[in-house]
């Protein structure tokens, strides 16, 4: 089911690739929206964005969020709604055939509160995305991308424990840094076509599990050397460069697997491509 939705996103993204159906003229509109924190214990934040630049960063003031959106009002309408703890942001397409100009000026800059714990859902299509979620209190995180170039950065530890991180990548380049700081129990990555770099370094506060389901492409795993690592794979035509891991009992183990304070179990299910393991100092 999730894989199917990945391909739907790929299709959506392909339909919005530059030059597919160029608009003769576009009407750009900017929308600046913000909301103050007003006693919320927790919120669910859903962001949906089709094409352009998409940036998320942590905020420092008393705002629950601050959004600056530039979009083509001929094709999209903005979404900025808050009701009963659910905040919905981004754009909705208003036509079936979306016209995206080759020099797309669409942009969404979003700042999220560091004060209110949140369930965060990010869904985007043909987007160049930079997500800096450092220090944002995340209870759960879901990232769904189409044909995008995404970077997820978590340089500061998540102050609240998180259940599952779900990352769903269509045809895209997805890079990450400091996923260990997410304080997550489980990270799942479902990738279609493309390159995926998972940097699992950071401040792990417990054992973790990472599962990667990949169609075809290149997967790079950047692993923390202070954690015990066990890598298992179920692959078809996929090469594995597992330097620093010892194969035994059907899995690949780091030397400190039995002695490390925390253990990280990684399972990879891949069809075609290459898996590379890189060790962080």
């Amino acid at each position: 089911m999730r894989r199917r939705s990945s391909w739907i996103l790929v299709a959506l993204a392909l339909c919005t690739l530059p030059g597919v159906d160029r608009a003769e003229g576009q009407s750009w509109r900017t929308l600046n929206s913000s909301r103050q924190v007003s006693g919320e214990d927790e919120v669910t934040v859903k962001v949906k964005y089709a094409a352009g630049r998409f940036n998320v960063k942590p905020g420092g003031g008393g705002s629950l969020y601050e959004m600056m959106l530039t979009y083509d009002e001929d094709n999209f309408e903005p979404v900025s709604e808050y009701s009963r703890g659910i905040l919905t942001l981004g754009v909705d397409g208003i036509r079936k055939n979306i016209d995206i100009d080759g020099e797309n000026e669409s942009r969404l800059d979003l700042t999220l509160s560091r004060r209110v714990p949140m369930d965060l859902e990010l869904e985007f299509g043909a987007v160049k995305a930079d997500f800096d979620l450092s220090g944002v209190p995340l209870k759960s995180l879901s990232v769904t991308t189409g044909a995008s170039e995404s970077l997820l950065v978590v340089d500061e530890a998540n102050p609240v424990p998180m259940g599952t991180v779900e990352i769903e990548v269509g045809a895209a380049s997805f890079k990450s840094r400091g996923l260990g700081n997410l304080n997550a129990e489980r990270i799942t990555v479902d990738a279609g076509v493309g390159t995926v770099e998972l940097d699992l370094t950071g401040e792990w506060k417990r054992d973790g599990r990472v599962s990667v389901d990949m169609g075809l492409g290149a997967l790079t795993l950047r692993l923390p050397s202070d954690m015990g690592i066990r890598l298992t794979k179920d692959t078809f035509l996929t090469g594995l460069d597992a330097e620093g891991l010892e194969k035994r009992n059907g899995g690949y183990y780091s030397e400190n697997w039995d002695t490390a304070e925390y253990q990280l179990e990684i399972s990879v299910d891949a069809a075609f491509g290459k898996i590379e393991v890189v060790w962080a100092p």
């Binding site: 392909l14 690739l17 597919v20 009407s27 750009w28 509109r29 900017t30 929308l31 600046n32 929206s33 913000s34 909301r35 103050q36 007003s38 003031g61 008393g62 705002s63 600056m68 009002e73 903005p78 900025s80 808050y82 045809a171 076509v193 493309g194 390159t195 075809l216 492409g217 290149a218 035509l237 075609f272 491509g273 290459k274």
Partner: protein
């Protein structure tokens, strides 16, 4: 359109809701919970939400100034008022909380505006101040001021209609009337045009050159009764201006401007707007009326035009192929003629292999880092090339079909000449589209021939698919028209196996008549089948 009393009430409430002014939303020391600034070429909007659930929306858009959705004035693009407003919004983007409130309250319209702009600017200024720094709340125990819904001058419509007296007044005016309700758009009653029953215009202007036979209610707009224009009932104005430009109102003209605050929570503009739309929408089903046959004709003509345009576009594409790739098109067309079965088989097989080839290509490119950038080109280009090949193949089939038509004496096809590639192409495409065109013509006759129309459509689709498959196969066989081996008159076609069903009785019958048999198998078959009833009959 006749509306129920409930809908009439909703319309009145909607009218009331649209008229709620900023003053009605105000409360002292009102914490702001959200702000929104939207700026486009023709628009500059500020939306504020307060902790008590109230809101304030000020919009400059396309020459009009709206306060909570109601027009309060007009502006010229680029004039000082708009510049000042945009400047304020530019500041508001970077401000929060108290700083934002201070900036908004401190704003004032610039000096030197003309009177309408100055009045509109003052209205906005007052609305901002009322919303953000309202006066101390009135003593709740104090008596509410007396309201005369037809005479008030400094009152708000929302308050009036929240009061029973005002609401009933409007409802009474509308009760029993056939109503035409428009939301957020201007209405023009042309000279000679007559509107049955009443007319409600909310958030728009009403320009009357003709006749409104019932009452007219205008909320948040301007009414012009031009020379010859007439309202035969009453004219009710709410937050509106009235210009009697030579026209006349046979009934009375009343202004609905109430005093006081609206009942808290009584009016939710969006909910009411939604209710109205929901109530009205089911009343406009696709009718089966006097006009139904004309609708079929219209749809049929539209379909016909669509197909003719398709024909034109395909012919144009074909013309391009004839001009730019004449030799290749010729080779492909000849290949289809010389080896139709092989072309079809290759076309079907290629059709099935397209997707695996597509995926395989992606795999090959994706497994290498260098190939991944190429993958981005591969993903869109492969389907485009496949579509192009199918189009060329389709044109080649159409050209052959055109040649077949040219070689026959078919009435009305004299213009299809075998020495003109374009006429053959056009004739062939026309023949392939003929089932669709016939379906359009049949559609004009009405729904009762729908089955035949569907049959023709299915036939047309099958013919199109077959043409594409055969043509695509020929394109593949000839490598896009570069290999002419299949088109040189040599029969490269399959030696198809004999798929004729075995008929033992016929074989036995032929044997009995001493006819030539060239297949021992056939004899065996007949023998295995044993004597049949036919055989026995003939033997006898």
């Amino acid at each position: 359109m006749r509306l129920s009393p409930f809908e009439l009430g909703s319309a009145a409430l909607l009218a009331a809701a649209v008229g709620v002014s900023a003053a009605g939303l105000a409360a002292q020391e009102r914490p702001m919970v959200s702000s929104e600034v939207a700026v486009a070429r023709g628009e500059a909007t500020l939306v504020l939400e307060f902790s008590d659930g109230g809101s304030l929306v000020v919009t400059f858009e396309d020459g009009e100034i709206f306060l909570d959705g109601v027009v309060v004035g007009e502006f010229e693009a680029g004039e000082a008022l708009e510049d000042s407003w945009r400047g304020l919004l530019g500041q508001a983007i970077s401000l929060r909380d108290e700083a934002l409130a201070d900036a908004l309250v401190a704003w004032a319209p610039p000096e030197g505006l003309n009177e309408p702009s100055a009045r509109a600017g003052a209205t906005i200024d007052q609305a901002l101040e009322d919303a953000l720094r309202p006066p101390a709340p009135a003593d709740e125990t104090a008596d509410a001021p007396a309201v005369d819904p037809r005479e008030g001058t400094s009152l708000t419509l929302g308050s009036l209609l929240a009061l029973v007296e005002g609401r009933e007044s409007l409802l009474a005016a509308l009760d029993g009337a056939d109503l035409r309700i428009t939301l957020g758009e201007d209405v023009v009653i042309e000279a000679g045009e007559s509107v049955d029953g009443g007319l409600v215009v909310v958030g728009g202007n009403l320009n009357v050159y003709g006749t409104v036979e019932g009452d007219a209610v205008v909320v948040g707009g301007t009414v012009h009764l031009y020379d010859g224009g007439r309202v035969e009932g009453d004219l009710h104005l709410a937050d509106s201006q009235f210009f009697r430009d030579g026209g006349q109102v046979l009934g009375t003209v009343s202004t609905l401007e109430p005093r006081g605050d609206p009942v808290p929570g009584a009016l939710d503009r969006e909910d009411l707007r939604r209710e109205i739309r929901e109530a009205v929408a089911p009343r406009a089903p696709r009718s089966h009326s006097f006009w139904s046959p004309f609708r079929n004709i219209g749809e049929g003509v539209a379909g016909l035009f669509r197909n003719l345009i398709t024909l034109g576009l395909l012919a144009l594409a074909g013309l391009g192929m004839i001009y730019f790739l004449p030799d290749r098109l010729e080779v492909i067309a000849d290949t289809i003629q010389q080896a139709p079965a092989r072309s079809a088989a290759v076309g079907v097989a290629s059709g099935f292999l397209l997707l695996p080839a597509y995926v395989l290509g992606m795999v090959v490119l994706a497994v290498s880092i260098v190939g991944i950038p190429v993958l981005l080109a591969w993903i869109p280009l492969f389907p485009i090339l496949a579509l192009l090949a199918a189009a060329v193949g389709y044109a080649a089939v159409a050209r052959n079909l055109g040649r077949w038509i040219a070689e026959r004496d078919i009435q009305g096809t004299d213009w299809v000449q075998s020495h003109s590639s374009f006429s053959m192409l056009l004739g062939g495409i026309g023949a392939l589209l003929l089932p669709f065109i016939a379906g359009n013509v049949i559609h004009m006759a009405g729904d009762w021939l729908g089955f035949l129309e569907s049959l023709l459509t299915v036939f047309g689709i099958m013919a199109t698919v077959a043409a594409v498959m055969v043509g695509f196969g020929a394109v593949v066989l000839t490598r896009g028209g570069r290999r002419s081996g299949f088109a040189d008159g040599v029969d490269f076609d399959f030696d198809l196996p004999d798929w004729t069903p075995r008929r033992p009785w016929r074989e036995a019958w032929q044997t009995a008549r001493g006819m030539d048999r060239d297949s021992d198998a056939g004899k065996d078959s007949g023998a295995e089948a044993g004597p049949t009833e036919d055989t026995e009959t003939n033997d006898a």
